[in-house]
Amino acid sequence: MSDHGMFGAEGSGDTSGYGGLVRSAASTGSSERPYGGYFDDVADDLERAYPDFADAIERVVVDRGELTLHVKREKLVEVAKILRDKLLFEMCLGVSGVHYPADVNRELHAVYPLLSMTHNRRIRIEVSIPDSDPHLPSLVEVWAGNNWNERETFDMFGIIFDGHPGLTRILMPDDWRGHPQRKDYPLGGIPVEYKGATVPPPNERRSYR
């Protein structure tokens, strides 16, 4: 499945030339070895240091020169500790939530970019959890700096980080209802009149696919 050209036209609708882009659907499978660069070393080291590797890591994805380990949520803390202590990923650069309402039973994703200053390496771990049970183990005990980031992700996506020392809202007011960056939370806005024409709010404008 792929589209040709930047304007998304299929067949012969696009008369303005070929844009050079080949778009493929996001891969859902694991990447094949060799991953390239230091990614093979990271995977080998982790397999050696962590006997449960095959069970805990659902997929290993290499895309655009970045390595993503999809980890089961039950094993997240174990994997994080091994990555920090054995593979020397000393720094976790926060957590970013992503809401995929179409990904049934894996609607909420949490993405943790990791940095190893010793080896000058970067990888990413990703955990997917269902909307109906939005719990994740907190990584504050592994990387203390994740404290505010987890609060932000709770605030914006409603992911509950079990074991967090004080999971409260951080950016929105304490009595706010809902989690604003979820896809089912409307952006809001009002139509604006300009020179007699009405411009609809951004979330009601046409969306191009």
Binding site: D3, G5, M6, F7, G8, T15, S16, G17, G19, G20, L21, R23, S24, A25, A26, D63, R64, G65, E66, T68, E90, M91, C92, L93, G94, S96, G97, V98, H99, V111, P113, L115, M117, N120, R122, R124, W143, A144, G145, N146, N147, W148, N149, E152, M156, R169, I170, L171, M172, P173, P180, Q181, L187, P202, N203, R205, S207, Y208, R209
Partner: protein, 446 residues
Amino acid sequence: MTTFSDPYASSRETTEGTVFSVTGGDWDSLVTEIGATKEERVVVNMGPQHPSTHGVLRLVLELEGETVTELRCGVGYLHTGIEKNAEYRSWTQGVTFVTRMDYLAPLFNETAYCLGVEKLLGITNDVPERASVIRVMMMEFNRISSHMVALGTGALELGALSPMIFCFREREKVLDVFELIAGLRMNLAYVRPGGVAQDLPAGALPKLRETVKELRRDFKDNDKLLIGNTIWMKRTEGIGYLDLAGCTTLGITGPVLRSTGMPWDLRKLQPYSGYENYNFDVVTADTCDVYGRFLIRMNELEQSLRIIEQCIDKLEKLEGAPVMVADKKIAWPAQLALGGDGLGNSLDHIREIMGTSMESLIHHFKLVTEGFRVPAGQVYSAVESPRGEMGVHLVSDGGTKPYRVHFREPSFNNLQATAAMCEGSLIADIIGAVASIDPVMGGVDR
């Protein structure tokens, strides 16, 4: 239901429960009330409207005498929902949003975002060299203007008024450079996916050389005022201590990390936009304190000037080279023109699309209203901003709008170190410690 009473808030009973009204009280009555209790402990709010907390930062301090026993930060007063809003705009419009996050380092926001979009598009290597050199030059100018605010306001907050005057004089020169090149002084939206919005105006390079010369001369005024100044040393040496272990576990980057002696600078270690082609040094200190971070910022100014000079040399050789990718399906169609009143539409371009070529009009219309499509996937791209690692996590679903834009803001992460730096110190030293972190609340709250 238990009834609570609070010396800081009056309360009344309602059907829903006790309602507390937290208002500013009369200091005398508060002192009398506190005097009646046995406890020495006082809880004080510092901010969010406080001239010395670097913006709308609220610090909740628990004090014993003048010693801080516990400190908590309250943030979120400047939350603007930029990340959410960006999901409803095209990838190019996103630049205009993200430039407003950390408003003292707009070019770093833009560049980090655009590097991410380019990585998603797979055109990282197609960005013309001239565009990369301009990006580097603008970022280094921006680093100077940002450090000038950090130093000037930091000194002001500690009671030193004169450095502020010098720092803002220098910052003004940098903002003039921005105005010359991009037409705007802040929130430039100058860096675009695929390149930059507009080439340098004619005759810009000699002016830039002149500015570099003036800046190098005038930086000495601040050196003379502060380096080795006894009062300044007493307010900064040994204050806000945070060592390497503390930095790594709290995810602290930038000058705070480099003040522990760790030469961690993404420009050197994970170069982007061609930073590997420039000669410059990573400035470190080994004191782990406010003075060390101050020295790092002062010395980084000279390194930025060195990079800018190399950029100007390169730009002279690259005169007339393109500043936007060749792929017309990504490159923004309007070649803007810089007029007396700022950046505006190019009359030549309007003549072409309105008068001569219908295909150009269609092309322009499609690209501006729909935008370009970005292949599905996710990336993380990071740049070394004046405050540390500015990371961008971008997710695309293959459409013309971002599916998710997340900024890993260095201010947000670094601010977590406030408690570690300040607990056990005096109230007055909090100001110095917060100033040395240099948080920008627009970036913290996004």
